[in-house]
Symmetry: D2
Subunit: 334 residues, 4 copies
Amino acid sequence: MVKIGLIGFGYWGPNLVRNFSIQKEGKVTVIAEAREERHLQISKIYPEITVCSNSDDLINNSNIDAVVIATPVFSHYKLAKQALLAGKHVLLEKPMTSSVDESKELIDIAKSKNLILMVDHTFLYTGAVQKMKELISSEQLGKLQYFDSSRINLGLFQPDVNVLWDLAPHDISILNFLVSNTPHSVNATGISHTNNGIENVAYMTLNYQDNFIAHFNCSWTSPVKVRSTLIGGDKKMLVYNDLEPSEKIRIYDTGYNHSSDEEKNKIMVDYRTGDVFIPKLSTQEALFGVAFDFIDCIINTKEPLANAELGLEVVKVLEASQKSIKNKGAETLI
Amino acid sequence: MVKIGLIGFGYWGPNLVRNFSIQKEGKVTVIAEAREERHLQISKIYPEITVCSNSDDLINNSNIDAVVIATPVFSHYKLAKQALLAGKHVLLEKPMTSSVDESKELIDIAKSKNLILMVDHTFLYTGAVQKMKELISSEQLGKLQYFDSSRINLGLFQPDVNVLWDLAPHDISILNFLVSNTPHSVNATGISHTNNGIENVAYMTLNYQDNFIAHFNCSWTSPVKVRSTLIGGDKKMLVYNDLEPSEKIRIYDTGYNHSSDEEKNKIMVDYRTGDVFIPKLSTQEALFGVAFDFIDCIINTKEPLANAELGLEVVKVLEASQKSIKNKGAETLI
Amino acid sequence: MVKIGLIGFGYWGPNLVRNFSIQKEGKVTVIAEAREERHLQISKIYPEITVCSNSDDLINNSNIDAVVIATPVFSHYKLAKQALLAGKHVLLEKPMTSSVDESKELIDIAKSKNLILMVDHTFLYTGAVQKMKELISSEQLGKLQYFDSSRINLGLFQPDVNVLWDLAPHDISILNFLVSNTPHSVNATGISHTNNGIENVAYMTLNYQDNFIAHFNCSWTSPVKVRSTLIGGDKKMLVYNDLEPSEKIRIYDTGYNHSSDEEKNKIMVDYRTGDVFIPKLSTQEALFGVAFDFIDCIINTKEPLANAELGLEVVKVLEASQKSIKNKGAETLI
Amino acid sequence: MVKIGLIGFGYWGPNLVRNFSIQKEGKVTVIAEAREERHLQISKIYPEITVCSNSDDLINNSNIDAVVIATPVFSHYKLAKQALLAGKHVLLEKPMTSSVDESKELIDIAKSKNLILMVDHTFLYTGAVQKMKELISSEQLGKLQYFDSSRINLGLFQPDVNVLWDLAPHDISILNFLVSNTPHSVNATGISHTNNGIENVAYMTLNYQDNFIAHFNCSWTSPVKVRSTLIGGDKKMLVYNDLEPSEKIRIYDTGYNHSSDEEKNKIMVDYRTGDVFIPKLSTQEALFGVAFDFIDCIINTKEPLANAELGLEVVKVLEASQKSIKNKGAETLI
């Protein structure tokens, strides 16, 4: 039985505890939460869990095998480093850290100590993303050509990170999980409608070597909520609409073939539209899968789906996007 | 009665003739079409219209007051210049010309000869765009903050212009018509999935001085057809979905107010969601309005809604977008 | 080459002529239209077609092999009888006649004279209905359990027939085409919101022996347009939404199995939801298929899909529904 | 503080307790639940509530002012009668009882003892139904003409009541609440696809004197979930779609005027379509409103919105519908 300590019982923490509480091979035994007014609430629901105020106590608790960190991003690096150095496996909330350097250092420490370092990119564990992975791995879409995501709504303005750091990690992690290539550069533009200069609307393009492109449209100021992604392959294309209650993925037997007419220096394109298929998806709660994978990897010394390398890739993109925005959209190497 | 000559009876020409044929104060009397196999077809439907093969004959026809040019873009400049120099008013298909310099020269000639020079940005004459203009002019949306448009589908690959030149003119012209400011720069990225290097997927950001931003997502390779634009103001926001048969515009009484808490250096944002209103729109065919405006401006020496300055602005944006794409997305002044 | 005369060039007549004009083995050679002001219009589009004012002249024209009757319902019987007696094959607009007796008499005459008698139930020739027929014939839906159709909008009030006679023929013909059983009785209710007592809202249930039921909801006074039908089988179910531009049919791998727990006198039901499949449909114009089938059946002495027996079944249901409404919804045998 | 006993902690009981637990003037102090394995669960969440197995103990508890009955329908009458006779105010789950006679008797007892008798027709307390009541009361829709409801999905087959008893109470209660007239008769048809003869698909028409009609389409065997109602007035019409997360009500400025052309014995109808308005709705949980109303009526001796007369009307319709189905759809007086 893997014994787990959770740091941070804010917005996401309760979901983590609930999903760890139904695992067979692991459980949360200690929670550290600085806001002491929440301790009673925790005890009421989970009387068997020890609650403390100080994360140091939790990290140094020798009865703990692993630490789950669900605190604001700026504190991830320090807490995770401390936990790894104390010999604990670590599951970090996304995004992994505030900088590429911090993420790299955590990865190095984890490797040197043979510890699991995982990032809670929950979406990778949804039925929808699992189905897309299966479709792409089995080459049903053919060679991938583009990934185009919109994640917009009237959303909470974050006081310290821009809308890309807030919303894009979901889509970047999904993209990284689905596509084996890595982007070499990013272009990003955006605007702040408040006087703190933090972008509440932003657009990002990821550039790849292999004739593939990815684009992200993120906003906290849309009157309508959109959570959708188009993925185009040269055999089929799909639309992933996360707001649909069950029909999240539609696969279009649609595409085109092109040939060049060399004499006329022209492109001839044949278009094709066909059936649409909406697969049934697993409805298991994604966070259950995160908790299971973390425990399973600790027990069996495996690499999680949402491993630290993937988490690092997400931070690399975000860091480069910020540079590009400051550079007025100029291409920024990742 | 304004007598009009039409050059080019291809895809759009028949629609132009049909809409001019129901005007009270003007009519098409001559059509020039190089493909002689189409002459019989024209004569069958419009026995009273003279058909010729050579545009020179039409332009030099002294019984013609105005020329409508519905040929491929590359020929616009030459034909329009010739017609203006021959003293004819000119209506050009969009986009106006292939370059800013060409458009400017046409404008100068038209001004010096007191001739109407108009571009067929048909969308300006739709009930939907007219309603948006009315909402924005009467300040019902408040101060505008962003314009975000998607125009994607499995569309015809054009052999000589990229997807921005093909699809974005619609949205740029609508934006220019609705917003009084002009953008100072553009960032654009894109990709070509054929070996002619012409982008079939492209993204563009327009940057403005006054805390306003515009973004365009254009693709010929989407499995789903999308024609929608979000416009955000600080009082209300709207969604314009051109694929809806009648409910094209939805106005959201939605927004947020922000204030800065100076002590804590934080932004406090109040969100508000309210009623949604879907106005009834005029269903007059937009191209009827184009034809009417052209004739009306000739008779009454007025400026058309879709005037040459607006047409020039569209070409400026397109030309700059092409430079930005070649420059790997770098900011390009307009 | 089958030579066809058309009686009635009103709303539907032009569509019929257009579709017959592109057939290889038949063509319309004469049109009879009482409103002489329309004659010029016909001649302009179809200079090769003879136009006359009197249907007698057309029916007695010995150069005509077949007659298409596109006049108001009340005149169908008289004109069709006259044409059949004159030895012409007949295609009648739907509904076939105003009464069962009339339809039966026409069928008897056609049989005795070995003439084709067909009813223009156009929907049978749509890609959507053809696909549903294929799915049901190949038993992919399993044993059929219900058919539930809604055809409502803000529609033209007819002055002489109620909303069932106006709208339900489409759905009844589709039902009859798809389902081999025939209903034994009908229940119908409705209401008239005008003072002529003609129902503008009506509901109808068709009762079958074999544990199958059909229901129809028709209205001319709905703020929204609905054209949809649910068809349930014990293996799969489908939704046919005729307003969808291309995705008209959705097949749900959804159902339930029931067993009775005899001891507890209870029903145990297992539910199942699965994939959804949206087949690509043929986009050939349905009326082209009608014209082709009529000509093909004349040449090859075959029975058309939309044969007179099916047309009679539709009239039987309509006549019984009217009796049921007058009888306050009581079951009325068909 | 009104002290309340709840009988039945099954599917709906927990929701009732939760909503009573946040009221200011009342609270649940005792729960009777026959299944003793649930007692621990209750105590864990609500340690301050007494739990017992026997409803008699609860009803006879002199510290209880009111009883909420959330047991299967067949037991409503007996428990409610017992509680009323013991001097308790009663809130009954819907439908009120299994028969009209039972409901009437309960009403008589409650009146004679000046006790509140209320039925939990929760929908009356939703923001959507409240908004519709407001629109209709203020005559914005004009004179009502029809009410047409669909409530279909792949739903749990009930072992003892048919689909109308299961699903229609929601819609009948909404109809009764919105419309002041009462129906004089019902026609109902249906079918059972299991061998217990209990209808899983059923259709019902309610007939009114005043040129108004209501129709209900209920099914447990639909592949798609529909929860929608059309309400037509002679000024405006509305669509109530309960599956929409926030835009549940759309008001159409749509209608028609009719006049009779007496000479020609014809009806002339003018159609009108206009704006659509989607009002913001209160998002307070409906069941909170039920709990509040019950307590408020007890304290202030008022009549609840969901009073026993309305509950009785629902049972009258259901009972008559069952007779009509057995009578093959014949009109059955209510």
